[in-house]
């Protein structure tokens, strides 16, 4: 514990160089802009900017990229509250009470509430990461291939079990990700897979291209369909409103704490920020004494989803750092960055790259403080971005996406794939095929396959190896429990209903 605190203070000394501080502010500002613009979000924004960081030292690079992520998390709230347009999926629940507050002329209060609770949620999650991540990493040092495969399995089962979409669609989308990951050279045997003589495919599908297409182009196509006309409320935050709102916030401490816990739980297990914000809003509505008034402009209805979304978004980095398994598409993109910088995510990272890990964790504290300052002072500026007409924004974003897709491998073909993924993203979104499991499967595909094959080698093809020891069996059991949870919950409810009702 004290050892970790020491490491954390060392991390602060790493993060607190003038260059890193500057990158932090640049990152947060870029992040908020990305969060505000339709079609650019945390995941694809970072994917596009990733190639620009290849020349930086890894610690500075990850500090900037993670700050973009914090910025994007903050930015989503601005559009939801002022324009009733969720800039990010996880801020949909913020519109329920945030927009009515803005309509009633309480935009400043809603924004301050949203930013402050985002900050609290993130802070809670960072504290948790500080103490939990090293423990998880130490624990995971004893993992072998079967255990790692079991953890991958757990990740994917929890997607199916906890997703809102039809389970077979989640499964199909996820397996499509695995199939795309398999394209190209098989790392073990060196054989070519699924390229059918098209040698440009040898490189395989890079998930960054998929992320840029699915989330960027797909989102633009969706916005276009709605024929967006932005009509927003004006935003002014003066210090008086901030102080007034801060005085009100402590009375919602129970909601805050509950939302933090929900967020952390759904962030570590790959539920992600979006379900966390909805769940937290739902629970707050049921538990609050003002629950009936939710949806008409309650500050508490802004606090709950924002706290949870940020706690989830932040804690999604825990499994990424400690196990090498990202909890969200954005964390997956950051993981891709680590690999490109030559860092192997996973338990050994905490031993071999102390400066990097603790510098990053320290920057999470600082980045969130920087974020809070920037958003509170610059809201009108960011809101002005949204007033730029869509017919200017849309082509510019498509150009940026194309540049981003090209820079990943300097390959022209990737830009075409980006467009293809864009169309897929549009169709999938409309038919409730989830995109997050597809992306995660694409990222983890090769490593999940390696873990599976190594396990099979160990046992000579006997699947029972996954249930042979306590640890691996426990994780597999938990996975299956999560996988079949919806079915079991339904059966249980049916068995109980005659008595309970």
């Amino acid at each position: 514990m004290f050892e970790d605190l020491n490491a954390l203070f060392h991390g602060f000394s790493v993060a607190l160089t003038p260059l890193n501080l500057l990158l932090m502010f640049v990152g947060v500002t870029l992040g908020v802009i990305i969060g505000v613009l339709p079609g650019l979000g945390g995941a694809n924004g970072i994917a596009i900017l990733l190639p620009l960081t290849f020349t930086m030292p890894p610690t500075s690079a990850i500090i900037m990229l993670s700050c973009i992520y914090w910025g994007a998390l903050f930015g989503g709230a601005i559009t939801s509250i002022l324009f009733n347009i969720p800039g990010e999926p996880w801020s949909v629940a913020t519109t329920f009470d945030g927009y009515p507050m803005a309509q009633a002329g309480r935009a400043g209060e809603a924004l301050t509430g949203a930013f402050t609770s985002s900050f609290i949620g993130a802070f809670f999650a960072v504290v948790m990461i500080t103490f939990l991540a090293p423990l998880v990493a130490r624990f995971a040092l004893q993992f072998g291939p079967p255990e790692f495969f079991a953890v991958y399995f757990l990740t994917f089962c929890s997607f199916i079990g906890m997703g809102k979409e039809p389970p077979f669609k989640i499964m199909a989308a996820m397996m499509l990700g695995f199939a795309l990951a398999a394209v190209g050279i098989d790392t073990v045997t060196g054989q070519l897979r699924l390229i059918f003589g098209w040698y440009e495919l040898m490189r395989g599908f890079d998930f960054l291209i998929a992320v840029i297409g699915l989330f960027g182009i797909g989102e633009i196509l969706l916005s276009m369909e709605e024929g967006l006309t932005f009509s927003g409320k004006s935003a002014k935050i003066d210090p008086k409103i901030v102080i007034q709102t801060w005085k009100k916030l402590p009375q919602y401490w129970v909601t805050s704490l509950r939302s933090c816990l929900i967020g952390c739980w759904l962030g570590i297990t790959p539920g992600g920020a979006t379900p966390a914000s909805f769940m937290s809003y739902g629970v707050a509505k049921r538990m609050s004494k003002d629950g009936a008034k939710f949806g008409t402009g309650q500050l508490e209805g802004v606090v709950a989803p924002e706290t949870a979304a940020h706690a989830a978004g932040t804690s999604a980095l825990l499994p990424m750092l400690a196990l090498g398994i990202p909890g969200s598409p954005t964390a997956a993109v950051l993981l891709g960055g680590l690999l490109i910088w030559g860092l192997q995510p996973g338990p050994l990272l905490f031993i071999e790259q102390k400066d990097f890990v603790w510098g990053l964790i320290a920057s999470m504290y600082l980045g969130n403080i920087a974020g809070l300052i920037i958003v509170i002072t610059c809201v009108p500026l960011f809101a002005a971005i949204l007033r730029i007409p869509f017919s200017i924004i849309a082509p510019v974003i498509i150009v940026i996406c194309a540049i981003g897709a090209y820079t990943v491998h300097n390959a022209m073909l990737d830009i075409w794939f980006m467009l293809l993924f864009g169309v897929l993203g549009y169709v999938f979104k409309k038919l409730a095929y989830p995109l997050a499991p597809l992306v995660l499967a694409l990222v983890l595909g090769d490593r999940a396959e390696d873990a599976f094959r190594q396990s099979m080698l160990m046992s000579q093809g006997d699947v029972r190896i996954f249930f042979s020891k306590g640890l691996v069996g426990g994780i597999m059991g938990l996975s299956l429990l999560l996988l079949f949870w919806p079915v079991m919950a339904k059966t249980l409810a049916r068995m109980r209903s005659p008595k309970a009702a």
């Binding site: 077979f168 182009i217 090209y406 099979m456």
Partner: protein, 174 residues
Amino acid sequence: MEKKNESAGVAAKGISTRAAEIAVALMFFLVGGVVVFDSYRIGSGWSSDGPQAGYFPFYIGLIICISSLVTLGQSLFGAASRSDKVFVEWSQLKQVLSVLVPAALFIGGIQLIGIYIAATIYIAVFMVWLGNYSWLKGIVIGFAVSAVSFATFEIWFQVPLFKGALDPLRFLGY
């Protein structure tokens, strides 16, 4: 929103969700089939040194096929089959295509004349055509975006972008 439309009415308004569901499920089945086929071809069993290259993808393809069949069945015979929801209305589809087609042309343009010039033209045309801006405004903004990205990528970060098969910007020396 209107529930009483008959299926003929749906066809008049746009593509029905049911048709889209069926098409996507069939696409998934096809992809799964291709994966199974190719994995079987390169070997999905055991060789002397362990699992073959197609060992893992084979099952992935199999799961894609099974889950797409379930979705297909649901949209053909399940409760969803009687729904008359519209996947996309014709007018919406027109909007979407008005972004998609120029984007495809833009990418084709990149291949020929490079990112910078294609982007300038694309942004200008898009603004004039869909946003009813004057040509002057369109070209100024298009040029500004290209100039900023040129400065960022070629000069500042030294990441060369694609200049096209014809490379009309050769004279700049990058």
